[in-house]
Amino acid sequence: MMTGLTRRQAVVRASSFMAMGLVDSSANAQLRIEVSGAGATQLPIAVSPFKGEESAPHSVSAIALADLMRSGVFRSVTGVGALDESSRPEWSRIRAVGADTVLGGSVSRLADGRFDVRWRLWDAVRGESVGSQNVVVAAADLRYTAHRLADWIYEKLTGEKGVAATRIAYIVKTGGATAPRFSLWIADSDGEGAHFALSSGEPIISPVWSPSGQHLAYVSFESRKPVVYVHELSTGRRYVAANFKGSNSSPAWSPDGRHLVVTLSRDGGSQMFLIAASGGGEPRKLSSSLSIDTEAVFAPDGKSIYFVSDRGGSPQIYRMSVDGGAAQRVSFSGTYNISPAINPSGDKLAFISRIGGAFKLVVQDVATGVMQPLTNTEADESPSFSPNGKQIIYATQILQAGRWQEALMTTTLDGRVKSKLTAASGDIREPDWGGFQGLTVK
């Protein structure tokens, strides 16, 4: 049974957002979500609008339903009427519309401006309640409450952790070719509630969440060369993690958060080095080759890395122990495979593969090597797994009003259910999906 948000947790959640050193988003950079596709087996859920939520700033039921649909596991059923947490559902009507699960609730504004949010989940097949919750939260926490509700339902019905309450980071490019602006944004998993952490006239690429959720590492060109920074979200302060002679790029965190693997050209070429996440100290070179070695990511056990190398003549994905030694090639299809991402259980590898000239997101089973393209777009980039390993977020280009616009999409691992996050203006790129940590204080 999920612990409801206590007042302390709710207050800390709001204050950790406010004190993050982040500036409130302008209307321009809010994202909208569209969900498409149908999963193989989907649980039909009926979500009633919550009583009283029309006078709250956000619709808790709608946000939670969108989260559940985006997961690909649920499909929405309508026609059950209005239900709150103390209703007696009409089972015949509910079964007639085909719902297996029903959610009802209410939102009441208290005298002190906070909101009393209550809900109940029913199993329509057995005709009984399976759980209820009641929390009191500030207005600023209503979105987060809706995401926590979606995750509570997801976990109850699938046994797996939901990712609605997690966060994503991404880059937005605005302005034309002559005066571009680049900004680093952090948003809820549905793209709403976005705040920006950095704005620059020079490119920013490769943002990556630390395992603790407290930091972002990224590459900024503000010094007119690529430099790796680590940015502390709670204070807005940052430090240089790698600025050696030449280019510094492609940061990735070790699972214990103590190291970064980076690509440095300080010895000539592009090679991978291990550095302390706090910066300083002498980098440890992970491999020496005359080829390009880059885009390293740690396997979940922290003992090996997946990376891109063109030592075989064109870019392919390899795996190597962090302690050194021979690298094994893991991608065998085609001549251009880059941008590896590994899921939290270490058994699925996502990457970008050039197939017939198009750059496509694919997922490969680590054990069998069987690979499956997931999209029908042609300029996919930068895949990142959700922390429950069930979805992948990626950047791609979509034709919109006669123009190719860069947008973020999520997909389920079978490629069946996708959602699109599109900023009102600007090109969005370089997504990274954060983890479960750093969201609440226990």
Binding site: V11, V12, S15, M18, G21, V23, D112, R114, A138, A140, A177, A179, F196, A197, L198, S199, S200, G201, E202, P203, I205, S206, F221, E222, R224, K225, P226, E232, T235, G236, R237, R238, Y239, V240, N243, K245, G246, S247, S249, S250, S265, G268, G269, S270, S278, G279, G280, I292, T294, E295, V308, P315, I338, S339, I352, F359, E381, S382, E430, V441
Partner: protein, 181 residues
């Protein structure tokens, strides 16, 4: 006397630490007090403004430096064939002239900035651009320019010279430019 030696040692160590090409940590993370704040305090949150960075000067401007500046406008952009990192013969004469400019002023420094066209991933293209900058640096070294005068870096596909997706536009993007350091 010992005090003076100690001072000198610390002073020297500080200077040497600053001389490295690494940038030391400027600020450490403060320990954040996670005690809950009263709700009223949230009415005026202490927002730390996001750093808004100034636009950087165009690459052809020469930034003020203590040493005599190299006239960057004299250094021509080098272009590369598709999937190639070899400096073509037609650019060798220009590179030799550029080497002479740099050797005439041993204190002058220059950045060699590699670029790619728009196709492919960002980090891999950063490495491809680096390969081009390294190739130009090697050619200049062969002509006699000192390694200390040059820094080879890459912008990958982040600064396209031409936005088109036709081959003529893409050819304009596969290049190494010279910039003030």
């Amino acid at each position: 006397m010992i005090k003076k030696q100690l001072f000198l040692a610390v002073f020297t160590a500080t200077i040497l630490a600053g001389c490295g090409t690494k940038v030391p940590i400027t600020e450490r993370a403060a320990v954040i007090d996670r005690a809950p704040q009263p709700v009223a305090a949230l009415a005026q949150p202490a927002l730390v403004p996001a750093p808004v960075l100034p636009a950087s000067p165009a690459p052809r401007e020469v930034a003020p430096v203590e040493v005599a500046p190299v006239d960057i406008s004299k250094l021509k952009t080098i272009y590369f064939d598709f999937d190639s990192f070899v400096v073509k013969p037609e650019f060798q004469a220009a590179l030799e002239a550029q080497a002479k400019v740099l050797m005439a002023n041993r204190q002058a420094k220059v950045s060699l900035v590699g670029h790619t066209d728009d196709l492919g991933g960002r980090e891999y293209n950063l490495a491809l651009g680096q390969k081009r900058a390294d190739a130009v640096k090697r050619s200049l070294t062969i002509f006699g320019v000192s390694d200390a005068q040059m820094e080879a870096i890459s912008f990958g596909k982040e600064k396209l010279a031409s936005a088109g997706s036709d081959e003529v536009s893409r050819a304009k993007n596969r290049r190494v430019e010279f910039a003030a350091p």
